[in-house]
Structures are given as C-alpha cells and as structure tokens.
C-alpha cells in the first residue's frame, strides 16, 4: 500500500508511525479494517468459549467445567458474539462500503468515527478481564435478568456494566455517523430509492441502534444503582419489580435482534443479483419490508416473556404482531428466490454463502414462528429449542452474511482474489458443520433439555455428542477462513476493478485495491456502463 507513505511523517520510528497511523486514523477504510479485525479476533475468543461449552456437554455429567465456570462461559460467549462479533462486523462493513456505495469521499464525521472504534477495545478489555477476577466473570446469561445480575451477580458485574455502557456509546455514535453520512453525502442523482440495499438496510439498522442502545444503557444504569445506591428498580423489597427488568431489557433486546440481521439482508440483496446476473427482484418491496420489520420490532418484545404471567390479551397481541413480522420477511425471501429464478447463476463462494444464508435463515425464521405461538411457547421456553432457533438466525444468518460479504468485497479491499477452491471448501465444511451443530438442538429442546445448565439427563446424550462433534468441525472451518483471508491479503491473482462479471454499484468503478481516498471528486450517477473499467 503505497498510499500509506503519504500519511507517515518522516523521521519517525516505524513503530510510532504504525501506531499513530492506526490510532489516529480518520479514514473510513482504515477504520472499517480495524472494526473487522476486532470482530474477527473476538470471533475466535468467543468461539473458543463455545468450544468449552460443547466439550462440557459432549457427555452427561460434569467433566471439564464447574457449573459456575460453565455459566460464565455461556454468558461471555453470548455477550461477545452479539456485541463484539456481529455488531462490530457489520459496522466495519458499513464503514468500508457505505461511502464507496454512495460516492462519498469519507464518513460525515471522521473523527467521531475514530472515537467510536477506539472505545471498543477498552469496552471488551473490561468485559473479558472479569474472567480473571475474584468471583469470576458475569454468570447470569447474556440477558442478565434481575435479580441474578443485581442481588446475586458477582463483583465483576460492575465491569460488565461499564463495558456495556462503553459499547452503547460506541454504537450510538457510530449509528449517528452512518445516518448523517447517508442523508448528506450521497452523490448527486442518488435519491433514497436509488440507494443500494446494503445502504438502505444499514440506514434502518442505524435508526434502531439510536433508539434502543440508550434503553440498554438505562437498564444497566438501573442495575448499577440497584447494586450500589440502594434504589429498588428491580427489587420487590423496595417496591420495585424484577419483571420490569425484562420489559426494559427486551424493549432493547428485540429490536437488537433485527440490528443483528438487517445488514445481512442488505448483503444478500447485493450479492444474489450479481451472481444470478439479474436485477434484484422487487427493490421497492425490499425497502418497505425492511422498514416494516423495523417498526414491528418495537411492539413484540413480550414474546420473550410469555411465561412471566402476562395478561392473555397482551399475549395474544404480541403473538399476532410477531407472526405478522413473517410477512415482510417472507416478502424478502420471495424476492431473493425470484431474483435467482431463471438467472444465469454461478456459484462462487460469496453466492454459496448467500444462498446458505437464505435457506438456513428461513429455517431459523420458521422455528421463530413456532416460538411465537403462546400455547406452545410454554413448552419451548428456556429449552434448547430456543438455542437452536437463535443460532440458526445468527450463525447461518448474521455470520454467513458477514462471511459472504467478506468474500464478495475482499478482492476490492485487497486487490487480490481469494483462493476460490479453499473458499468453496470453507463453505461446504461450514454448512455441514452448522447443521450438524445446531439442528439436533431442535430435537433436544423439544424433548425438554433446558438451556444454560451444565449437565443433562442421559436420554439427551447422543444428540449432544453429534452437536459437539459438529461444533468442533465448525470451529476448525473458521481457522480455514482465517487462512484464506490472510492468504488473500498477502497476495494472489490480481483483481480487476469490477471483480465480478455483473457487479453493479459505485464501489466497482474504482480500482482494486480501493485507494485510500476515493471519490474526492463526485462520480457520475447513474453509472454509465463505460465507467466500469474492464481490464
């Protein structure tokens, strides 16, 4: 990268130059890279915790992890995957791609962008350091229900609270930055309804973030004052109510799950048309479907709480509202399938992951529908069925989305093609391992195996063993992914500027690798066909 030399101030040691480049950078591409590196690192840390969990559950009985430690692993795995892997992963993609897709030279608030990122390493250091503290790390599950987290939480809960505060600040600032960028820096001629879908889905996600991360901040603040300043928000002794915690948490938590998937919808909507060599079917309906999902997500939090003794009328309302979300989601799935219908499809790695995303996310959506039904939820609640459901929407959903995005845009970022043969191997091993890991969990849950418990009864042994073997495979395939990415960064066949035959969008009009500064002069929009430089 010759461009970096412009930034280094002469007569400095290489170390200082390196540090100041990455610590002080305000460039959207470099900050995007930082986010993606953080996400990737935490992916392996949180993944290692999942390995501990699956090792312990390989056989009934207690072999490797004491119950308290097991609970810490479950909690930290969840927190890190949600807040440390999927969210920063998507923000990294947003940083890299949104300015390039809308023809902007950079994000609207570049210094704020640097600040948003550099809060995160501190937040996660606080969170992870709690593992080494007296009393151990938080052990109450990623949902940190009161009174487990207030009255009974370990002392390190306070580190967790401050960590969550920092993540929240980072996310809100990042989201504000993204909204301001999209509203103000679009190239002339790109109306809202001409924006690429990845930009659209991120715009909506950013609004969700601005609206719900502050609620999470409120919830942890109430926890903090309950723990140390004698308030009783969540404690019945002083007239509070522990169920209130669940309401506040899930008011944040349900839109949060759409924060974790909407950008993935955007990614699939970019990739599938390229490899089907057709325009995206139903662009407008995609936009409206995304907006409806986001709006509905604010009124359905009660479906996480059916068993708390809600009034029947509330249960019915939440049940129907939840099932209504299946309609816009179904529209999206239909549009993706219709885009592929009679297309000239080829199956490069990004396309494979995108198709895997569509199929497996739909399975996760169906189990979500089952959970939305009040009468049966009483049986499924807090069983492995729930674990199966949200892993199906998060792993082959959000994570496959990020992976397919990485394969798709990696040649643009690095200037080199990744190893297609290894990429395909990664996909096929991952898709077998994902299903082997998470599919048997459905059966376990239906048979009554509770979640978050270190041990289980004997009749669950076989399925748990299959799941654990699958999880081990899944862990190994991610090492292959790491190898493919590193190999691609270090070299490989040179990528053209358009990279893919029929990729559409402003990011494909600039050379590969994308120079540090792009679109200093605004590009033409709509893109004239001759602008794509075939070489």
């Amino acid at each position: 990268m010759a461009v970096t030399a412009d930034h280094a101030i002469p007569n400095r040691s290489p170390l200082i130059a390196f540090l100041s480049r990455w610590l002080l950078t305000t460039n959207h591409k470099e900050i995007g890279t930082l986010y993606l590196c953080l996400s990737f690192t935490l992916f392996f840390i949180a993944g290692a915790m999942a390995m501990v969990i699956r090792l312990e559950l390989f056989q009934p009985g207690i072999q490797f992890a004491e119950p308290l430690f097991y609970n810490q692993m479950v909690t930290m795995h969840g927190l890190l995957m949600v807040f440390g892997v999927v969210m920063p992963g998507f923000v990294g993609l947003a940083n890299w791609l949104i300015p390039m897709m809308i023809g902007a030279p950079d994000m609207a608030l570049p210094r704020l962008n640097n600040f948003s990122f550099w809060i995160l390493p501190f937040a996660f250091t606080l969170l992870i350091s709690s593992l080494f503290m007296e009393g151990g790390a938080p052990n109450f599950g990623w949902t940190f229900y009161a009174p487990l987290s207030t009255t009974y939480g370990p002392p390190s809960t306070d580190f967790f609270i401050i960590g969550v505060h920092l993540m929240g600040i980072s996310s809100v600032l990042g989201a504000i930055n993204i909204i301001v960028t999209i509203f103000n820096l679009r190239v002339e001629g790109m109306t809202l309804m001409k924006m690429p879908l990845f930009v659209w889905t991120w715009l909506i996600t950013a609004f969700l973030l601005v609206m719900v991360m502050p609620v999470l901040a409120g919830a942890v603040t109430m926890m903090l004052t309950d723990r140390h300043f004698d308030t009783s928000f969540f404690s019945a002794v002083g007239g509070g109510d522990p169920v209130l915690f669940q309401h506040v948490f899930w008011f944040f938590g349900h839109p949060e799950v759409y924060i974790l998937i909407l950008p993935g919808f955007g990614i699939a909507s970019q990739i599938i048309p390229t490899f089907a060599r057709k325009r995206l079917f139903g662009y407008h309906s995609m936009v409206y479907a995304t907006i409806s999902i986001a709006v509905l997500s604010f009124v359905v939090w009660g479906h996480h709480m059916f068993t708390t003794g809600m009034p029947l009328a509330a249960e019915l309302f939440v049940m129907y509202a939840t099932m209504m979300i299946a309609v816009p989601t179904g529209v999206k799935v239909f549009n993706w399938v219709a885009t592929m219908w009679r297309g000239s499809m080829t199956f490069e790695t990004p396309m494979l992951f995108a198709i895997g995303f569509v199929i497996l996310f739909t399975i996760g959506g169906f189990s979500g529908l089952m959970l939305a039904l009040v009468p049966v939820d009483f049986q499924y609640h807090d069983t492995f069925f729930v674990v199966a459901h949200f892993h199906y929407v998060l792993y082959p959903g959000a994570i496959f989305g990020i992976m397919s995005a990485v394969y798709y845009w990696l040649p643009k970022w690095t200037g080199n093609m990744y190893d297609e043969r290894l990429g395909k191997l990664h996909f096929w091993t991952a898709i077998i391992a994902v299903n082997m890991t998470f599919f048997p969990m459905h059966f376990l849950g239906l048979a009554g195996m509770p979640r978050r418990i270190v041990d289980y009864s004997l009749q669950f042994a076989d399925f748990n063993m299959v799941t654990s073997i699958g999880a081990g495979m899944l862990g190994l395939t991610q090492l292959l992914f790491l190898y493919i990415v590193v190999k691609c960064i270090r070299g490989g066949e040179k990528a053209t500027s358009r990279v893919w035959d029929s990729a559409e969008g402003l990011e494909w009009t600039i050379p590969s690798p994308a120079p540090l500064h792009t679109f200093s002069t605004p590009p033409q929009f709509p893109i004239p066909e001759k602008v794509y430089q075939h070489d």
Partner: protein, 187 residues
C-alpha cells in the same frame, strides 16, 4: 456547501436528542409500567395498600375456593416465618381469620416488613384484607416470637376460572428502623 453543513448539523442535533430522549424513555418505563400494572391488575400487587373497609352488608356466596399461604424470608432476615395454616377452603364473601408465626432467631432486636404477592396476579384485586401484619413493620426482640394476624375475605366477584389462590409473603429486614424503647415493645 454551507447548506449541507447546516443540514448535517441539524441531523446530528436531532439524532443526539433522539438518543438522549430514549435514555429518558427507559427510565420513564418505570412509572409507566407501574401505572400499566395497576390498570390491568398485573404482577400480583394490590395497589390500594390501605385496609379494606369492613363490608356493610356481607354478601356470601356458595362458591368455595382454596387459598394457600406461603412464606419466604428475604436475604439477611434471621426470622423463622411460616403460616400457621398452609391452606384454607373458604366461601366467597366470608370473613376469615388466620395467622402467620414469626420468631426472631437473632440475638438482637430486628424489624421486618412483609411484602405480599397474590397469584394468579389478576386475583389480587379480589382479595380484601381487613387486618394484616403487612400493613405495618413488625419488631421482635432477640428470641421473641409472635402470632401475626391476618383477617380477610374474598370478593364474590372473583372470576369464575379461579379455583385456587396463593397468597405469598416475603419478609425483609428493615435495616435502619428505629429500635423502639423497651416499654413500647412490651406493649
């Protein structure tokens, strides 16, 4: 260019206000939730904590329901605490007298406050207490014990689908309660 900058500033201000407003909303959920629960009779609390008035004319119905009594002691409460009768079969509208037994096992005077909860939650408003130890704080000297009275009746309007109610008391220590003078305590 300046127009864009103004626009940008406007967006930043609006979005920041939205974020701050949502923090406010999260705290506003506390009173909103309390009001909501009161309106729909959620979470097993009876909101008029005052003593129910002695009914002028007792309406007694033939319908019988079972009422269970539960007792729990909160963290740091050194008392033994249990209902004297675990359950009663009562006719709707009939006034009943039962009691809870409490003994202070600590070697010092302790003040306690019982917090009631009724299950199913929507039955809470049909359970009328005429006399209850939960209306006031209780104080027991070291080793002292007492029977604490509970006089109640269940409204004849109790929804048809309820055949059993559970009344649960959690007893919590009151840390900064003034220890009453011995003369008062002996009263």
């Amino acid at each position: 260019m300046t127009e864009r900058r103004n626009n940008q500033r406007k967006h930043i201000v609006l979005l920041s206000a939205l974020a701050v407003g949502m923090v406010g909303f999260s705290f506003a959920m506390v009173p909103l939730y309390a009001i909501f629960c009161e309106v729909v009779g959620l979470n097993g609390k009876k909101y008029e904590q005052e003593i129910s008035a002695e009914p002028a004319v007792l309406q007694v119905s033939e319908r019988e329901v079972t009422i269970q009594f539960l007792a729990q002691v909160g963290r740091g409460m050194p008392w033994e605490f249990r209902p004297t009768e675990p359950k009663l079969k009562v006719r709707l509208g009939e006034i009943h007298l039962t009691s809870y037994y409490a003994r202070n096992r600590a070697d010092q005077t302790v003040t306690g406050q019982a917090v009631p909860s009724v299950s199913p939650a929507y039955a809470a408003n049909f359970l009328h207490k005429l006399e209850c130890f939960c209306f006031t704080q209780q104080q027991l000297a070291a080793g002292e014990d007492q029977q604490m009275a509970l006089r109640f009746y269940i409204d004849v309007e109790l929804p048809e689908d309820i055949s059993m109610l559970t009344l649960s008391y959690s007893l919590f220590p009151v840390p900064d309660a003034e220890v009453a003078s011995p003369t008062l305590a002996s009263n």
